[in-house]
């Protein structure tokens, strides 16, 4: 239960961090909040020979509005997201979901960038980034580039980052006008990994019809699972109960691919997905209506 030895670097600028990381490609690991990495190191599931700690890189910690997007530094703590007024105002889905991430003690240290790069299929932030059409900025010695969240999560604990790239910024577009939201997950105990979770967004047009819907699931497959067929079915409709149930059946039976675990069988996960889809769609629709 103690980590294997490693060499430790704590650069105080991003430039230094990027340089160091490129020197240790393959052996080096970035240490962000450490709320997933350190347990894995304590278990010796992960034994990096070099750790590059970003906790002294102050320039990676910020939340600011910029035109019609919010920019978030990768080292921003989850607890800061929870209490930020710009996030509450422009991306209420994220505001609603952050308290579901583990416990306050974990959110005080865990970072948005760390959770995104860890890419745990049961984690909230990858799902939220997908639902909110985030763009993710990566930096390496060869330069910077943007990756859309939908292309970023390529598999279980796997992202589109190159081995020498560091995630540095998250760009969140403001949620579109007349967009309602809902995030719900079911866990055996508050703060535990959820057996199933859903992020739902519903955008209404001037006539109160569905202009677009988003349904993204956690712990439902190799990564954030988006139910595109169910979303499509809802477009242009008034989101009546029968149709919402039909969408929930398609999403839970056809589009997600849960693996089952100690706490929940695959059937139970699908059942939860169906019930939560209906619940979140109804609440998101109601909230979108209230915004008119």
């Amino acid at each position: 239960m103690k980590p294997a030895p490693f060499e430790y670097y704590a650069p105080d600028s991003l430039e230094q961090a990027v340089d160091l990381f490129s020197q240790y490609v393959g052996d080096g690991k970035i240490l962000a909040g450490g709320q997933s990495l350190v347990p894995a190191m304590n278990f010796r599931v992960v034994q990096p020979s070099v750790l590059i700690d970003l906790n002294r890189v102050g320039e990676l910690s910020y939340i600011r509005e910029d035109g019609d997007v919010i920019r978030i530094g990768a080292m921003t703590r989850e607890r800061q997201l929870e209490f930020d007024s710009s996030i509450a105002k422009w991306t209420p889905l994220l505001h609603e979901a952050v308290p579901f991430i583990a416990h306050p003690q974990i959110r005080n240290r865990g970072t948005i960038g760390g959770s995104i790069v860890h890419a745990d299929p049961a984690a909230e932030l990858p799902v939220l980034m997908t639902a909110l059409n985030a763009r993710l900025k990566a930096k390496s010695v060869s330069g910077e580039r943007w990756v859309d969240a939908k292309d970023f999560f390529v598999g279980m604990f796997t992202t589109a980052l190159e081995p020498n790239e560091i995630l540095i910024e998250i760009e969140l577009p403001f949620m579109p006008a007349r967009t309602g939201w809902s995030f719900v997950e079911v866990a055996p105990r508050a703060g535990d990994y959820a057996m199933m979770g859903v992020a739902a967004l519903v955008t209404l047009d001037a006539n109160g019809k569905c202009k677009g819907a988003k349904l993204v699931y956690l712990n439902a497959g190799e990564g954030p699972m988006e139910a595109k067929e169910a979303e499509k079915l809802l477009e242009g409709t008034t989101l009546g109960d029968t149709l919402v149930e039909e969408a929930a059946v398609i999403a839970s039976e056809k589009e997600i691919n849960p693996f089952g675990n100690t706490h929940a069988s695959i059937d139970f996960q699908r059942h939860l997905a169906k019930v939560l889809t209906q619940k979140t769609l109804k609440l998101a629709t109601q909230r979108a209506g209230e915004l008119q």
């Binding site: 974990i106 005080n108 508050a190």
Partner: protein, 158 residues
């Protein structure tokens, strides 16, 4: 060769300078290097909450932080709560009076979780208290008397 790094950490308002191996967990640093054994170690993977301390005033798991990362930071442990054994912190006094502990293993972590919680939320509902306790496991009490103790502490600290 094993790397050794000199760190200076302020713990309960006292400065300590020590050489540590990077892989030393903050929980082990507090217990083994500083002799502050009030911080308990349960699961060592961030689930049980027994090792919770205040890191720059915020509750965090000391088993998920390396001691080197605490260099130039301020840590508060359970030893920092009471002036002396006859003058317990009102939160500790409330745990005594409401029988908020049995074996006591989880207690330091719970106290260090509840200190910032009560600061941020001086009039908590029972539901809020239970939610705030969700990251700390207790295998003895069934939590009822812990909840009572936190309620009593909120009254005392008004």
């Amino acid at each position: 060769m094993t790397q050794s790094i000199s760190i200076t950490v302020k713990v309960n308002d006292k400065e300590y300078t020590r050489d540590v191996e990077p892989r030393m967990l903050l929980s082990d640093f507090l217990r083994h290097e500083l002799g502050l054994t009030g911080t308990h170690v349960g699961c060592e993977h961030g689930v049980c909450g027994a090792c919770t301390i205040l890191f720059d005033g915020e509750s965090e798991r000391s088993c998920l932080i390396f001691a080197v990362q605490a260099d130039s930071h301020h840590v508060t442990t359970v030893e920092g709560l009471a002036k002396d054994k006859d003058n317990l912190h009102p939160l500790q006094q409330s745990f005594w009076e409401a029988h908020g502990l049995q074996c006591g293993y989880c207690t330091p972590g719970i106290l260090m979780t509840m200190i910032p919680f009560l600061k941020q939320n001086p009039n908590p509902t029972e539901e809020e208290i239970r939610h705030a306790l969700s990251g700390n496991l207790c295998r003895c009490t069934g939590y009822q008397h812990i909840v009572d103790a936190v309620k009593l502490a909120a009254e005392k600290m008004k």
